[in-house]
């Protein structure tokens, strides 16, 4: 009885943010993704390299849209992506023959390791999954995937967050570095 009672969800949702907050979230994420995408399409793509992966879209939500969140802090952004990338690549190398298992192990282990290292960053789960499901362009990178696109892309987005999120008086980033 109590078990099903819990599914009702008796709490309430946090309030809507102010229009200014919406604007700054838009500006920050536009610039953050623009920076990563520009580097990708203007420089690296021609060299056969990658800078942009889907999980950065998720990081942008946190980094520019929920900047107070512990999940959005530098430690979590960098730690979460880098650790998850390592786990994702390792899962692919060990379990490439059984893709469904590689995918599940990559994501679940990433979450566990991020918890243990206090670097929980939801997009890290996507970063780990992409290492397993990303196709040959990702597989050929091997452990280089950790450095590029993952670490480098996250670092670029972090720089943009530091620059943009501290412009309005009402915003301050980060809450903590490490």
């Amino acid at each position: 009885m109590k078990y099903f009672e819990k599914m009702r969800g008796n709490g309430q949702s946090p309030p809507q943010v102010s229009p200014a907050e919406v604007c700054w979230s838009w500006i920050g994420s536009f610039l953050g993704i623009a920076a990563v995408a520009l580097i990708h399409y203007r420089l690296l793509d021609q060299l056969g390299l990658t800078m942009i992966i889907g999980s950065f879209g998720a990081s942008a939500v946190l980094l520019y849209g929920a900047i107070r969140s512990p999940l959005a802090q530098p430690r979590n952004l960098l730690g979460g992506h880098i650790l998850s990338a390592f786990i994702g690549v390792t899962a692919h190398l060990l379990l490439a023959e059984i893709p469904w298992l590689a995918a599940a192990v990559a994501v679940s282990s990433s979450i566990a390791v991020m918890h243990l290292t206090r670097t929980l960053h939801p997009p890290g789960g996507a970063t780990a999954l992409i290492a397993v499901t990303g196709g040959d362009s990702v597989y050929t990178l091997g452990y280089l995937y950790i450095l590029m696109p993952v670490a480098l892309g996250a670092a670029v987005m972090l720089v943009v967050a530091l620059v943009v999120n501290n412009i309005p008086k009402t915003r301050k980033y980060p809450e903590f570095w490490w």
């Binding site: 709490g11 949702s13 946090p14 943010v17 979230s25 849209g65 107070r68 969140s69 915003r171």
Partner: protein
């Protein structure tokens, strides 16, 4: 903490409406649900309360100056002293003001040949059965003959938490506080202790 009730509610009972209003005042998206914040607030409040209570010492809550009787006081006088002040026990001091012992109702009961935990009705029954009052045998005795000595005492820096533990473990109702030379500074009674836990609410 073992002493706190699980269902403790802070005196300021924040409603979720208050919290949502505060979240609106503070710019930016705060990723906590109002219900979670309320829970954190209540638990944190309880921790703060415990910290405040337990960081207090005997010096903060003791009664001082303290009622006391001198060594050599006659038991009749001692009984009159206790009844006049409506107290059930008192520290006994020597000529230099140093704590020599504590005398309480229980010591009187023992001297009268009754148990430490004798009730008033037991005394009445005893008197009626023995054609006279058992208290008469207390005449011409001095307080040092019946007092508990050495008394359990402590320095004024003892924490409220440690006092509570002493009261429970040693089954005492008052704790005399003494300086390094053993001179009586004050006393913490059960009432003082109750106030210590209530005042900070």
């Amino acid at each position: 903490m073992h002493r706190s009730e699980k269902g403790f509610k802070s005196p300021i009972d924040l409603s979720e409406t208050d919290i949502v209003a505060a979240m609106k005042d503070i710019q930016g998206y705060i990723d906590i649900s109002p219900g979670d914040f309320r829970e954190i607030f209540q638990v944190a409040y309880r921790h703060a309360l415990e910290r405040l209570v337990e960081s207090r010492t005997a010096a903060d809550i003791m009664t001082s100056p303290v009622h006391q009787v001198a060594l050599g006081t006659d038991l009749r006088e001692t009984a009159a002293f206790l009844s006049a002040r409506g107290i059930s026990g008192v520290p006994v001091v020597d000529q230099q003001g140093r704590l020599a012992g504590v005398v309480s109702e229980k010591d009187f009961l023992v001297k009268m040949g009754l148990g430490r935990n004798a009730s008033f009705m037991q005394i009445i029954a005893h008197c009626l059965n023995n054609k006279g009052c058992v208290a008469t045998q207390l005449r011409n005795h001095r307080v040092e003959e019946i007092m508990t000595t050495p008394a359990i005492s402590a320095g004024p820096e003892i924490s409220v938490e440690a006092i509570s533990d002493l009261f429970i473990d040693r089954q005492i109702n008052r704790l005399p506080l003494v300086d390094t030379e053993g001179r009586l500074l004050g006393i913490v009674t059960r009432t003082d202790l109750l106030h210590a836990y209530r005042l900070s609410c």
